[in-house]
């Protein structure tokens, strides 16, 4: 099994190499992405095999870092994330096969990106994990920077590289602290010596910063809304669907597994707080953004936040010795990782299809696409309903479990944590509701109503292969929504890897089980589906019975305005609500305090002939408080370093000499003590 896995990694690397000559031709690019589809399907098979058969074995590769050999292993946790990676990777690669990226430069890094993620997930020592993580970061940077002709893409790629450097600068010392304490890099050695005291605190802080910045947790999330639109659509789908999950894998592996089971209750608090803030901030921004990909990126931040809440709760419950509840929270997180991976991949691919077909990402230039692209619209509806957490789709099942876990927060017995859990419940519920509003707005503006531009009116349905790349994840979203119980049973080894051998998945048969004992709540998706079907049938029959006339199609309601003149064939654009208009209530309710939203009405005085104006804007606080000062600091440092460039040869040499002397002096001093 592990040999097959290492062969897949090797094949992906070779594919990346072969892609260099193949990429300029469309057929070659198709071939490369087809190879990625095959590799990802193989990964799914391997992951399911490992989850069912259980794989504790460690494979030592015949090469590795200077002090040893690289180790690979597929325990439950790795296998679960490998499953997510394989599913999303296969879908995204299939889409790329149907619609190869416009730039040949975006083809070769793609297999490397996949290989880096597989290596990260399958690593069994800290060095291999960090190596895979960095390969993933660099390859995805190359993908983001592939279309570097546009200044905004260059800027996004630069910010992304900075963030990748930051996450490496935090994760390497985090693993270093653990390894220095344990005296070895393999996971077995790290597990055997769990950190305590300030060491554990340092690992928690660095791990949260490093993995959180990669996953897009507040306040280090501001790169996502810039980077996701810059990358090709299938890459964006993979970044949100798989890469953010790989970052969460590192977080879970580091904090829940490698730091040992004996960590105290408060360990969950930072994760809970950061997750809740990300969820609300992401969801609120998603209701305000007017670019499909940016909106989806913000929704990703929200979902990553929810997953982090789940991981934090699992840590806290484990610290409070509440095993079943920890399993409930961790199960919610794991299930949401899979569900979000699938439906967010679907939604990003839909955004890509809409961009290619209707020519824009901006909500104000789309509209009415349900007529031109019915299959895409149907798939989008499935994904959007899942993202809005509507039953019986997949998003509902995992978010329901998460809310059940949050509602059980009072059972920890610590008053501070009880209050926090209550606040977390409120915030998570608010985030879910805001996400639903954002998704309704997305679907309404893109697919319903009238086209807003002539280009949008000329949209057409996507090709056959591309249609499959949308239909498969839509089908999976439905299926995962109906079968959360079996999926959690499949995730049982992952739960055991996180919480110890006693953990039991919160599921029985096809049903999900929230809570324990008498307070347990049940979620039966199949029964719910049957009830919904019966209700729908009844409504249909009732409507049929009440109105025997045939259905007729009338003109689109124009919002109460008078009919547009003939020279406006798509209707008066002003009589259709805009993205800003939809966002208005939430912007003035929540945006002013959380996102510094501002609006200005420029009303001409009576008698003036100029047009009235209205401008509204908002800014993410993390941007102004973190990114801008960081950029300023970087500029100052760069200016300082400029003087180094003007040094003479002699002064450069003296710099090296001085450093050498200082190191020697340090050595002498260390020996003396």
């Amino acid at each position: 099994m592990l040999t097959a896995l290492s062969l897949v990694i090797g094949a992906l690397l070779l594919l990346g190499l072969a892609a260099v000559p193949l990429a300029p031709r469309a057929a070659g690019a198709r071939l490369v992405h087809g190879g990625c589809v095959a590799a990802c399907v193989l990964l799914v098979v391997l992951a399911i095999w490992a989850l069912l058969a259980g794989g504790g074995a460690v494979l030592a590769l015949p090469f590795g870092p200077p002090w040893g050999r690289a180790l690979l292993a597929l325990d439950g946790l790795s296998a679960w994330f490998l499953l997510v990676l394989g599913v999303t990777g296969a879908i995204a690669s299939l889409y790329a096969m149907a619609r190869p990226p416009a730039r040949p430069g975006a083809v070769p890094p793609y297999p490397l990106f996949l290989a880096g993620m597989v290596l990260t997930v399958a690593a069994a020592d800290a060095f291999t994990l960090m190596f895979g993580f960095e390969v993933m970061s660099l390859a995805s940077w190359a993908l983001v920077a592939a279309d570097h002709a546009q200044a905004e893409n260059r800027r996004a790629a630069r910010l992304y590289l900075m963030m990748a450097a930051l996450s490496a600068a935090c994760l390497v010392p985090a693993f270093g602290l653990l390894a220095g304490h344990a005296g070895g890099f393999s996971f077995a050695a790290l597990r055997a010596a769990p950190p305590t005291g300030w060491l554990a605190g340092g690992v928690l802080l660095l791990g949260l910063l490093g993995a959180g910045s990669k996953a897009g947790l507040a306040p280090l999330h501001s790169w996502q809304p810039m980077v996701y639109p810059a990358a090709p659509s299938h890459v964006t789908a993979l970044m949100s669907g798989a890469m953010a999950k790989v970052a969460l894998y590192v977080l879970a592996r580091l904090l829940l597994d490698l730091c040992g089971p004996a960590q105290p209750l408060w360990w969950g608090v930072p994760l809970l707080v950061v997750g809740a803030v990300s969820a609300v901030l992401g969801a609120l921004r998603a209701t305000l953004e007017d670019d499909t990909k940016v909106l989806l990126a913000c929704s990703s931040i929200e979902n990553i936040g929810l997953i982090t809440i789940g991981l934090g709760l699992a840590l806290a419950f484990r610290g409070a010795d509440l095993g079943p509840l920890a399993a409930l929270a961790a199960g919610a997180a794991l299930l949401h990782i899979l569900n979000h991976g699938v439906f967010k991949t679907l939604l990003f691919l839909v955004a890509g299809s809409v961009l290619a077909s209707a020519g824009s990402r901006r909500l104000d230039r789309l509209g009415g696409l349900i007529h031109a692209m019915p299959v895409t619209a149907g798939c989008a509806l499935v994904g959007i309903a899942a993202a809005a957490a509507l039953p019986p789709l997949s998003g509902f099942a995992s978010e329901w479990l998460l809310l059940q876990a949050l509602l059980a927060g009072w059972r920890t017995g610590d008053i501070g944590f009880q209050v926090l859990a209550a606040a977390g419940t409120a915030l998570a519920a608010m985030a879910t509701a805001l996400a639903a509003a954002a998704m309704v707005r997305l679907f309404g503006l893109v697919f319903l109503g009238r086209p807003r531009t002539p280009r949008g009116a000329g949209a057409h349905e996507v090709g056959r292969l591309e249609r499959w790349a949308l239909l498969i994840p839509a089908g999976l979203t439905l299926l995962l929504g109906l079968l959360p119980g079996p999926m959690l049973a499949l995730a049982q080894p992952a739960l055991m890897a996180l919480l110890g051998p006693a953990a039991m998945a919160p599921a029985q048969g096809f049903a999900l089980l929230g809570g324990t004992g008498e307070a347990a709540a049940w979620y039966l998706p199949l029964a719910l589906l049957a009830a919904l079907a019966v209700a729908g049938l009844l409504v249909l029959l009732a409507v049929r019975a009440r109105s025997p006339l045939e259905t007729r199609r009338g003109p689109v309601w124009n919002g109460g305005f008078i009919n547009a003149p003939d020279y406006l064939p798509f209707g008066d654009p002003l009589s259709q609500p805009s993205a800003g208009g939809f966002a208005q209530p939430l912007r003035s309710m929540l945006g002013t305090s959380l996102l510094a939203a501002r609006q200005r009405v420029d009303m001409p005085r009576p008698g003036e002939t100029r047009a009235a104006g209205y401008t509204a804007s908002f800014a993410d606080p993390a941007f102004g408080w973190l990114v801008v000062p960081a950029a300023r600091l970087r500029d100052a440092v760069a200016k300082r370093c400029e003087t180094l460039r003007d040094f003479s040869v002699r002064r450069c040499l003296s710099l090296g000499f001085g450093t050498l002397l200082a190191l020697l002096a340090l050595l002498a001093w260390l020996e003396a003590h």
Partner: protein
């Protein structure tokens, strides 16, 4: 083995260190080259003595290479270059002679402080040889940074390499390959350095490296700076990323 062989090995190592100091205070290029030639000869002697002492005949070859290259060929070449450049003037020092001597003494003290405790478990001869070799290396570096003259900088580099070879021959069991490659490396370095000296001579009519400094980064440097100002993530360009374009329009 008696005590005498150790003493002779130390004597030769100490002589090399002494010659490093000699190199450091010479004011004339001619004298610098002479001192360097003597140092190369002493290095050859030290290597030959080690070959005798350790009973490793390969080290005789090292000694021969050191003698031919460092005591004869390179000094001759340097002298020829000096004649071609018609340079018989004094070395311009960046640091005063007295100051550089004091710095040299401090550096040697540091080297001994570092090496002796680290190698507490090793053979006595290796320990002190290592300390001497490290001192020679550091003094070579010091020479490179206290001189402005290109030829003395080249000599400093090669004296540094002498220190490396001294360390290599002092450690028993060092394969010969290393010395051969280092010797070849130094020759290459020497050729490159000589080439540079000629280039400098041709272009600027001087072997003072300071003349290079005013010609660094023309054209390319300006372009780089221009790009940085053009589309950089300037601190204030942030709000919604449209400022860069707006500034042009």
């Amino acid at each position: 083995m008696g005590k005498l062989p150790y003493d002779i090995a130390h004597l030769l190592g100490g002589a090399m260190l002494l010659l490093s100091f000699v190199l450091l205070y010479q004011r004339r290029v001619q004298a610098v080259i002479n001192a360097f030639a003597v140092q190369g000869g002493v290095l050859a002697l030290a290597a030959a003595w080690q070959a005798n002492m350790q009973g490793v005949p390969e080290l005789y070859l090292t000694a021969l290479i050191a003698f031919v290259a460092k005591a004869v060929l390179i000094p001759l070449a340097l002298r020829a270059m000096l004649r071609r450049l018609d340079l018989h003037r004094a070395v311009e020092t960046a640091l005063g002679i007295g100051t550089s001597m004091m710095a040299g003494v401090a550096v040697v003290a540091l080297a001994i402080l570092v090496v002796l405790p680290i190698t507490a478990g090793a053979r006595a001869i290796a320990r002190e040889d290592l300390a001497l070799a490290l001192s020679v290396v550091l003094l070579g570096m010091l020479m490179m940074i206290t001189r402005r003259n290109a030829i003395s900088q080249v000599v400093g580099l090669m004296s540094l390499e002498n220190g490396l070879v001294l360390a290599a021959v002092g450690a028993a069991g060092m394969p010969l390959v290393v010395e051969l490659s280092t010797a070849a490396l130094v020759l290459v370095v020497f050729v490159v350095a000589g080439f540079f000296v000629f280039q400098i001579r041709e272009r600027f009519d001087s072997v003072d490296t300071a003349a290079l400094e005013s010609h660094r980064g023309e054209g390319a440097g300006d372009g780089w700076r221009g790009e940085g100002a053009g589309d950089g993530w300037r601190g204030d360009a942030g709000q919604d990323g449209q400022r860069g374009g707006a500034g042009q329009a």
